[in-house]
Symmetry: C2
């Protein structure tokens, strides 16, 4: 019996795709990576995932897990490999509002988690542009970040328990809903961010938080990043750490936005530094309107902004007056991927540096790029509250060496400032050379030893994350 | 040359203790575990730790790391093994108030971290009774918890970067001060909580938080745990999550406290449920005294308590009026280890269960103990905000089987309620049978595979954490 026939006997022929049906799985949405999978399997349960992996392990078949496929680094590239789609495992198994936890399968779309939490007056705070397609399995496998990390942490910080199928098909049950559990090694956090190279995540217990009762959101324009940081620290102190987002869109971002999405153009003359800031209140005293209709939370934001305007540390400020205005400000930011990734050749990155050297990083990169490729186009957008910069370059010519040199320069300058060359998108295929160049070699050898111990045949997402 | 002579040539003869000098390292402070180490080495630098481990690896010498030695589970027991004390590595390498990070060596005492952070108007929020002796290396190796986890998380959540010496002496540099870094597997969190079985932690980058500007602290008495939980949720909502501690001391705790420390006796007639609650303000509007001297933060606490008294959901409430009163309330709680662990035979534990079943757990345990050993003494104290209960039993007779059955019952009932048999003290020696009985067998085999991959000779803290 052929492998596909055996797979069909395990999970039903309708859930084994080949040929043209499988071809739809053969690329990333950016179009940067293309491949021809051996076949695509769509299991409906953890047990089926286990059976598939047992068979793959017996036959030495390479397996690439995929859920929403919204990644940017080739993490799901699967030339000649079996793709294991988690999309049919899309059940929310349980929600426990008292304990503030939600148990979801790997195929649940992030936006559906948001809705399920909201129905209980709670929130699942992980959020990013691809929220309408990205799924639990993928955002955990890549330890995704996004816009609210400054307050709530990344995917890892929001996961309490995990169910993982190992390379040999055994199911590892770490489905814990506790905030304190020290029973041996932290295998949960090892699996999160491992990009499917150590096991296939099939379900998770996720942490919910109280839904903010009110938001105060503003778009700000100012001269320098130092002014922005001073304002961020001031707001954090004033609000007791209630800043939910602090997103940086420089003038060149605003120019590109106006070109591609005139409906979302900056409502004031773009400044060198434009910031989308959002603070949120869970305490009722901040969220209860005064007799005149004003909100204490918004008053607080406006007071801080007023002082900054007075001190000439702020040039423009537009505070959202209602939820429609708030949504529109957010759309300006969330359109980033769409307006950035529609041009080739492209070098897109997700570096991070300590907050106080973001400005220095951008200066150094300007000098680097002026020397390397003065005609290149540059796009920048950043989660400034985390020091996480998406520095994108459109090289002046489609030249492999130039593209590699550009990618290397972006990473080198981050590492030189004690930063990271990979903050939130995962390593996948595209950052493996950077891993080889910059990751501590002892750490790399420990990763290889763990990979070898847990997947000795190297069948799980082979060739990803760890450089050869 | 003998091993000790070779060690002396590496780090100086004064830093290699043997015989009577080494004997002082031969027990835990509780007196529950005793051993005779081969020798004790006291390296002064990461490089020296590396040399020691290289030699240990060459000679197949077993190595047990130790820092403050304040553990309770035999994690530092070292019969015939070389003890590696980190106590001389007690430098704070750097403090960066702007980035809110502190870099400390493994031998820095927790209380000294508190002082260093306070000098910058910041706080390192991990805290527990042994803070005057416990050190960085130990609280990271055990992923320690304590009283402020409800707000700030455990040790793992407060660590950004790590320096680790591996079994073969190689130094792994994960000394990162970033909040977002996805460069391969999460080796930091793997090392934290591994109790020195995968590597020796020599230094860490720790996260600081803004020092609260004001505290409101109270001792409360009420009838039921349900009333306590309702109050906790109410306070969390009212304050936007500013509850720093919510500690449960039942009447039997208060009775024991009055007996051993009459100076710390409960200031009101002890109730079935007594709670030490503390909320803290970083926002100035909560921490600035009104013209009449009252503090908005305290007013807010008193309003909530007043409503609960009115509704007869609260029987007693004593709000600390100054820092001396606050310290005294904390001392009542922090004396727990001292007043609990001074009797033998003893079964002391650190289980956790979901918050809403703590009461049910205690009921079930009462029934279990009534059947198992009706004459046993019971002591209970809990970090109620985390569902983390220290359930201590003084068996009626010094009988190994009875002691084992008691320990097993405490774990079984926690696991039956989806809880953990080990919340914050580590596994060490004492909880290995419980690991064998209750931890997912697939997870155990993954732990063994990782241990084998990173320490193939099994020289690092052998016989700890993972059952045979």
């Amino acid at each position: 019996m052929t492998l596909t026939a055996r797979l069909a006997s395990l999970i039903g022929p309708n859930n084994v795709l080949t040929g043209a049906d499988a071809a739809a799985y053969g690329s990333e949405w950016t179009g940067k990576y293309h491949w021809q999978p051996l076949a695509v399997v769509r299991p409906g349960s953890t047990e089926e995932v286990s059976k598939i992996l047992r068979l793959a392990s017996e036959t030495g078949t390479k397996v690439v897990p995929v859920s929403g496929n919204t990644g940017l680094n080739g993490g799901t590239a699967a030339e000649g490999a079996l793709m294991l789609s988690l999309a049919r495992m899309n059940k929310i198994r349980a929600i426990n509002p008292a304990a503030r936890t939600l148990t979801a399968e790997a195929g649940v779309v992030l936006e559906n988690l948001h809705a399920a939490a909201a129905a209980e007056d709670l929130a699942f705070p992980l959020s990013f542009g691809a929220k309408g397609s990205a799924m639990v399995g993928g955002f955990l496998a890549t330890n995704a970040g996004g816009s609210n990390v400054v307050r709530y942490g990344n995917a890892r910080a929001l996961c309490l328990g995990l169910e993982v199928v190992l390379a040999d098909g055994r199911v590892m049950n770490l489905m814990n809903a506790l905030h304190k559990d020290n029973t041996g090694y932290d295998l949960r956090d090892l699996m999160i961010g491992a990009e499917g190279t150590l096991g296939v995540i099939t379900a998770a217990v996720l942490k919910l938080v109280p839904a903010p009762r009110a938001y105060a959101t503003a778009l700000l324009g100012m001269e320098t990043l130092d002014q922005a940081l001073t304002l961020l620290n001031r707001l954090q102190l004033e609000t007791g750490g209630a800043v939910e987002a602090f997103e940086f869109m420089p003038d060149l971002y605003m120019a590109r936005l106006a070109r591609f999405r005139p409906d979302l153009a900056c409502p004031f003359p773009p400044q060198p530094v434009n910031i989308l800031v959002e603070i949120a209140a869970t305490a009722p005293d901040q969220a209860t309107p005064a007799p005149d209709g004003s909100l204490p939370l918004t008053d607080r934001l406006e007071t801080v902004l007023g002082e900054a305007l007075e001190a000439e540390a702020l040039t423009e400020a537009l505070v959202a007056q209602n939820s429609t205005q708030r949504r529109k400000l957010w759309e300006m930011r969330e359109t980033a991927a769409e307006i950035t990734l529609n041009e080739t050749p492209i070098v897109d990155t997700d570096i991070s540096v300590p907050l106080d050297v973001v400005g220095l990083y951008l200066e150094r990169m300007q000098a680097r790029m002026a020397a390397l490729d003065p005609e290149a186009g540059i796009m920048i957008v950043a989660h400034l509250g985390d020091g996480n910069v998406h520095y994108t370059v459109y090289p002046s010519r489609d030249d492999k060496a130039l593209i590699a040199a550009t990618r290397a320069a972006i990473a080198e300058e981050a590492v030189a400032l004690q930063g990271s060359f990979s903050a939130e998108h995962g390593v996948g295929l595209s950052k493996r050379p950077t891993m080889a160049a910059h990751k501590d070699p002892v750490a790399l050898s420990v990763m290889r030893a763990i990979k070898q111990a847990l997947d000795p045949q190297n069948i799980l997402n082979p060739g990803k994350t760890i450089p050869d």
